[in-house]
Symmetry: C2
Subunit: 264 residues, 2 copies
């Protein structure tokens, strides 16, 4: 199922012609595996990359998770090898690569103190055709992440070229305002995270009002509480946007955090 | 100098974190090699990817060209391997890959009849930070090229998300209007081709007026002559934009073509 070498003519290398999933593994289980597979299938359909049988892939990932115990699995799916040129070959054989990173993952208590963000200078380009997808064209994120080295800054906030709020470099962002959850819609750029989807589902179960909309930096600054989500950290409250604002003592975030963790 | 294998943790694969050059080789020589090296160095500086000594690279490329005789050399430079995560490692060792494609290259006469273009549906995203660079994030071009399979369509015209004219999928575009050359400026998106630079230099030598500006589809349709440039085809007159317009019998394009070829 998974290749252990990569052809030098692979289109993942030449064009970033592929997708990836970064999955948390705890106690030998892939967290939110159905959501990861769903997003992968959706992205592959948008790029017209044929996937192998999803239940076989699911079984192979579960087997890898059992062997790993705790850590991160990164699955890369490329369109495979082709001749020179952008045209996707009709008979392309997709290539699946699985990288295994044993490591201790964050626990709920680790995020209690909250994290510090900075505002990135880089603005994300607006490209509806690729928006939301976890594809392999990630240079913008490399450049955004290269903007800082201070270890006390955990994440960088990303706006797009029209100054709309999108996400953070490796996380999605949620705002709490008057008891309501707000998160950027991702129809122009950004990655639609699986934990973002899980938080939206969780908020619905809790009966919270949720808005996916066009937000801006001002909305962040006006928020009562701010938090980030991703597969590995689950949910991290934000205690400061460096140079802009600090937040203390929210109530909705701890509640959501508890509900979210207990469902994982 | 050149690697023959690629680590599965290479950032070229994971993020498209790198650059490439596609070079024409004729009679054992790389065409426009100084321009290719200049663009590579400029892109590497923008991405902060350290390059090996350029004169050593030049010698290695010349040696490969001599061995190839005629065909295409594709050089890929990635930031190399790193741990998981977008942050570029401080000690990254760049990876150079050279692919050799023996093939007969087009001669001046091959393009006389002119080619047919289509207008692509895909619109390029505007990202000034990456504009002009020949980086490895090329999914937009894969999707644009996947829009057609008809062999009689040689190229696809690309506008950006604000409907500005940018380029074609694998070429730059020039318009001739009232004896003047016009070509899109590439400060928002697109690839600044080495043959584009050569044509601009050639036009200057011929005393032609040249405008790099913000152009639109209407400017294409109003042009007296239209041509495309790239490393492999050098210069191709356009005889039709499918569904929009045809062109016949220009005079400036043949003159430019002759001057250009004689300088290569």
């Amino acid at each position: 199922m998974f290749s252990t070498t990569l052809s030098l003519s692979d289109r993942g290398l030449h064009y970033g012609d592929g997708l990836f999933e970064t999955m948390a593994v705890m106690a030998g289980q892939v967290r939110l595996l159905p959501r990861h597979l769903h997003r992968l299938a959706h992205g592959a359909a948008r790029l017209a990359i044929p996937l192998p049988d999803l239940s076989a892939l699911e079984a192979a990932l579960q087997e890898a998770a059992q062997a790993l115990g705790e850590g991160v699995l990164k699955l890369i799916v490329t369109r495979g090898s082709g001749g020179r040129g952008y045209a996707p070959p009709e008979d392309a054989e997709p290539m699946l690569i699985l990288l295994r990173y044993p490591q201790k993952l964050p626990r709920p208590d680790d995020a209690q103190a909250g994290i510090v963000l900075r505002l990135c200078t880089l603005r994300l380009a607006r490209q509806p055709v690729l928006a939301g997808m976890k594809h392999l064209n990630r240079l913008e994120y490399v450049l955004a992440r290269a903007e800082w080295r201070e270890p006390e800054i955990a994440e960088g906030l990303l706006l797009d070229t029209q100054d709309e709020l999108i996400e953070a470099v490796t996380s999605n962002i949620f705002l709490v305002q008057a008891g309501r959850l707000r998160t950027p819609c991702l129809d122009q750029c950004g990655v639609a995270g699986v934990m973002r989807a899980e938080v939206l589902a969780c908020a619905e179960r809790l009966g919270l009002e949720v808005e996916e909309g066009r937000l801006h930096l001002d909305d962040v600054l006006a928020a009562d509480e701010v938090f980030l989500t991703n597969s590995l950290h689950v949910m991290r409250p934000v205690r400061a946007l460096h140079g802009y604002r600090e937040w203390v003592g929210g109530t909705l975030v701890p509640r959501l955090q508890q509900t979210l963790w207990s469902a994982l």
